[in-house]
């Protein structure tokens, strides 16, 4: 089994040339806290592998060497009751190993949990909802969902992202294995975590604490961009929603149906907070928290029959007639 561990880890390390892998392996770290954990995990793994080899060999040796053989006489083997020296040895050595493991863990706990941030570090407030993620950038004053955009820390520049974790309903857990270990989002509690990605790309993760029916499709991705691309994205997100006269009919449908109770589109009267902010819906690659690609066909299906994409999600089937449905989808498609 340990061999399987090593094969997997080394295989992944060798097989992935550059850019994040679509497989969120914990042995493929691309961010400072994930790196710290990765180094500790290799250390702990090697100690455990050594103990395994020693003790497993002892078991196999004893089991094989001291088996009863047909040629043996019938008398009982020497009756040994114990040995204090031996007992002392196999008490003290494990204690020493435990001390080493404790110190190594404590060091990484301190490095990750007690990290200090520069005052200008990027702040994000992540709020877990059944079954999607809300990301608010308080300094920039906008809200988005499910796809977290952050700048890369490269070329000697350190841009840590400090993430406040809240929950609107039940427990959730923020886990993007290549960037950091998981931290839970718990109602009535403020948790925090941080990432400092070193490589541009899209990193996938998902909710890691059972949160209800659609826990499985509460996916998330982190889009790591160059600082310039990130600033461009911020400017786009800060802009109010596009008001195109061609889709005024769809906007009317949106604002006169239940859509506006749950969703926000800045610049319109829709300011619900129960569902994701749709101001720049089409800037996102997926809908339903990563459950389906964000294209016209899926948007139509999602409005008409959400259970076809994500059964058990809290998005209701909107029961619109064909005309309203077409107009609404056209409007949503215009929210660049």
């Amino acid at each position: 089994m340990l061999a399987a561990f090593l094969l997997t880890s080394s295989g992944l390390l060798l097989a992935q040339p550059a850019g994040p892998s679509p497989i969120p392996s914990i042995f493929d770290p691309h961010s400072t806290p994930a790196h710290d954990i990765y180094h500790l995990s290799l250390f702990v793994l090697s100690i455990c592998a050594t103990i395994f080899l020693v003790v497993f060999s002892l078991i196999v040796y004893a089991a094989f060497k001291y088996r009863h053989r047909p040629s043996d006489d019938d008398c009982e083997p020497p009756q040994i009751y114990g040995s204090n020296q031996v007992e002392l040895a196999w008490t003290v050595i494990p204690i020493l190993i435990v001390v080493v493991l404790f110190l190594a863990s404590a060091r990484v706990i301190h490095a990750v949990e007690d990290a200090q941030f520069p005052p200008d570090a990027i702040q994000v407030t992540a709020t877990g909802h059944q079954f999607w993620w809300e990301f608010e950038y308080p300094k920039y004053g906008f809200v988005t969902a499910n796809e977290l955009h952050v700048p890369v820390s490269a070329n000697g520049q350190s841009l840590p992202i400090h993430i406040m974790l809240l929950s609107a309903d039940t427990d959730h857990s923020f886990w993007v294995p290549q960037l950091a270990g998981k931290t839970d989002l718990i109602p009535n509690r403020r948790n925090e975590t941080w990432i400092e990605p070193h490589e541009v790309g899209i990193y996938v993760g998902q909710c890691a604490q059972y949160c209800g029916t659609q826990h499985a499709k509460m996916l998330l991705s982190v889009v790591v961009q160059s600082p310039e691309d990130f600033q461009r994205w911020v400017q786009e997100q800060k802009a109010p929603a596009v008001m195109s006269p061609q889709v005024a009919e769809g906007r009317r449908v949106f604002e006169t149906n239940a859509c506006m109770n749950c969703h926000t589109i800045t610049g319109t009267i829709a300011n619900g907070r129960f569902g994701p902010d749709l101001t720049h819906l089409m800037s996102r690659k997926t809908i339903a928290s990563g459950a389906a690609p964000n294209d016209e066909q899926n948007l139509r299906l999602w409005v008409k029959e959400p259970d076809a994409i994500k059964p058990g999600s809290l998005m209701p089937a909107m029961q619109l007639n064909d005309h309203d449905q077409d107009a609404l989808v056209a409007y949503l498609m215009s929210l660049q």
């Binding site: 399987a4 561990f5 003790v55 009751y81 040995s83 007992e87 190594a104 706990i109 007690d114 718990i186």
Partner: protein, 562 residues
């Protein structure tokens, strides 16, 4: 003392089998019985039935996860399956199985005629049964929001606020609460009973330092039951108050705390692991010496390590909560306490190896399961050390790695030890030997299936697959591993079929066992197989830990060396 001998009364001839009485009378006897042996067997049968039910639930989940984007079961059903699988296996399979062993063996091994409180014993058993029935009634009698007839879907750990009345509508969560509450009363009764039996009913000469290790380990287990089940019971009552009387202990929407529930649950939940694993250690500590033909290596330190595990296990609970954002100091403390428990556990593994060392090991099926137990429990302990390192746990926690880890503990450790116990004591219980051929089929099929399933289950966890998801996308690269894991289940099912065949076939056709088929050393082998209602015609007197060794080797008795 030079010519001292243990006083072991002559064995009694087994009474005629009472096969001629009408069925209804036999059944009535079983229902009203207060005999610890019959209750022990009923615990065992009850545990096996729920083991099979919980296994079927697991098999359905594995079928769902075998391929990516599968649509075999709905997400609602899947969530119910893992909730019921976990609750069933812990409370209604593993606990009855280990309590069955304690019930049957503790009075026999201390030379007593029954438990201290036989009626309490019967009451405890029937409370456990009712608990299981209440929980399972929820499949037909519970109702939820949608799709009437619903089992609970809040996970076996039932984290707040998912259990609050606003998130869990209907009665399914109430069945979960009351089922466990009721069976918990039964467990506390059993704990009191076993402890009293151990401390008050030992036969003359059996000092605490001459008590068989099985009895010692069960005594520590029962202490843990008393201490650990109380917080769970309290939390269940608080949750009922929240749901029905407008309390706000765990109701986060009204200012309650989700974290308090976690503390309550895990301060029960972690000792619970040791409540299950210590009786498994107990079985292994009896079987390995007999088949190695040597006394247990380091009896005193085995007892000390057991007591140490008991104490330390009460201080490690928050390692289940490394990801909830505790301070770095709290995390460091629980890293230290959790790693510390590996020391006494390691001592036990070394002592079992020390017992085999220099022996003449006879590989009966019982001993094969013990060797498998040793190897698998070693790996379970080592993955436990990885999880104890909090930062590593931030990655591994709530992933399939953890699922693989604790199934290694429970199935690879506890259940394998229980199988060893079944093969070892079946002759005593029935008077018939189990078939070694069928037993070896059971052993190899089950071990192969176990390793296919749970060795490969570590890997998707390392690749970022979280627990409790009913489906996943093929792009994540988890599919091949999940397929192998699911294939292993088929082998395990076949193994269990061979076990059941063996149990039934041997009962009717097995070779007669005699009183002491393994040439063993503890008191239960000094009475007939099966033992009479009163266990011993005369209460025995012992001089050492191995009274039957003294009897068989008067030239070299144990008491000279102890």
């Amino acid at each position: 003392m030079a010519d001292a001998q243990p006083i072991l009364p002559p064995m009694i001839i087994s009474p005629e089998r009472e096969g001629t009485r009408p069925m209804v009378q036999v059944l009535h006897d079983w229902i009203v019985t207060v005999d610890h042996k019959k209750l022990g067997l009923m615990y065992f049968g009850y545990g096996i039935i729920f083991l099979v039910i919980g296994g079927i639930e697991a098999a359905i989940m594995r079928a769902q996860l075998a391929v990516a984007n599968n649509h075999l079961v709905s997400p609602e059903t899947f969530n119910r399956l893992f909730t019921m699988h976990g609750t069933t296996m812990i409370f209604f399979a593993a606990m009855p199985l280990v309590f069955g062993f304690a019930n049957y063996l503790v009075p026999l091994m201390v030379g007593a005629r029954d438990m201290a409180f036989p009626r309490l014993n019967a009451w405890s058993f029937w409370m456990s049964v009712f608990g299981g029935l209440i929980l399972y009634f929820s499949w037909v009698g519970g109702f939820g929001l949608y799709g009437a007839g619903s089992a609970p879907d809040v996970g076996w750990f039932a984290y707040a606020p998912l259990t609050a009345s606003s998130f869990s509508v209907g009665h399914s969560t109430d069945y979960w609460i009351i089922g466990i509450l009721v069976s918990g009363f039964g467990s506390i009764g059993t704990a009191l009973n076993v402890l009293t039996t151990t401390f008050c009913l030992r036969c003359p000469g059996m000092t605490l330092r001459r008590m068989p290790l099985l009895v010692w380990m069960n005594a520590v287990t029962m202490f843990l039951v008393l201490v650990a089940l109380s917080p769970l019971t309290a939390a269940q009552v608080m949750l009922l108050i929240d749901r029905y009387l407008g309390g706000h202990f765990f109701d986060t929407q009204a200012g309650g705390s989700a974290v308090i529930w976690m503390h309550f649950f895990w301060i029960f939940g972690h000792p619970e692991v040791y409540i299950l694993v210590l009786p498994a250690f107990a079985i292994v500590s009896e079987v390995i010496p007999v088949f190695s033909r040597k006394p247990i290596f380091g009896y005193n330190i085995m007892v000390a390590a057991t007591v140490a595990i008991g104490f330390i296990s009460l201080s490690v609970w928050a390692h289940h909560m490394f990801t909830i954002g505790m301070t770095s100091y709290a995390n460091a403390f629980f890293v230290a306490s959790t790693s510390a428990i590996s020391v006494p556990t390691g001592i036990k593994i070394f002592n079992w190896i020390g017992t085999m060392w220099g022996g003449k090991i006879r590989y009966s099926v019982a001993m094969l399961f013990c060797v498998a137990f040793l190897c698998q429990f070693l790996i379970a302990g080592l993955t436990g050390i990885m999880l104890a390192a909090a930062p590593f746990d931030w990655q591994l926690g709530n992933s399939y790695f953890v699922v693989a880890h604790f199934h290694y503990v429970i199935l690879g450790g506890i259940v394998m030890a229980i199988f060893a116990g079944v093969y070892y004591w079946y002759p005593k219980v029935t008077g018939k030997m189990l078939s070694e051929t069928l037993g070896k089929w059971h052993f190899w099929l089950f071990v192969i299936g176990f390793h296919l399933t749970f060795d490969f289950m570590h890997i998707p966890g390392l690749l970022g697959m979280p627990r409790r998801i009913y489906t996943y996308d093929a792009s994540r690269g988890w599919e091949i591993w999940n397929l192998i894991v699911s294939i292993g289940v088929i082998f395990q099912i076949l193994g269990i079929v061979f076990l059941v065949l063996d149990l039934i076939w041997s009962y009717f056709k097995g070779a007669p066992a005699g009183n002491d088929p393994w040439d063993a050393w503890t008191l239960e082998w000094n009475t007939t197989s099966p033992p009479p209602d009163y266990n011993f015609a005369e209460i025995p007197v012992v001089l050492s830990r191995r009274p039957l060794w003294d009897l068989k080797h008067p030239e070299d008795p144990d008491w000279k060396y102890e």
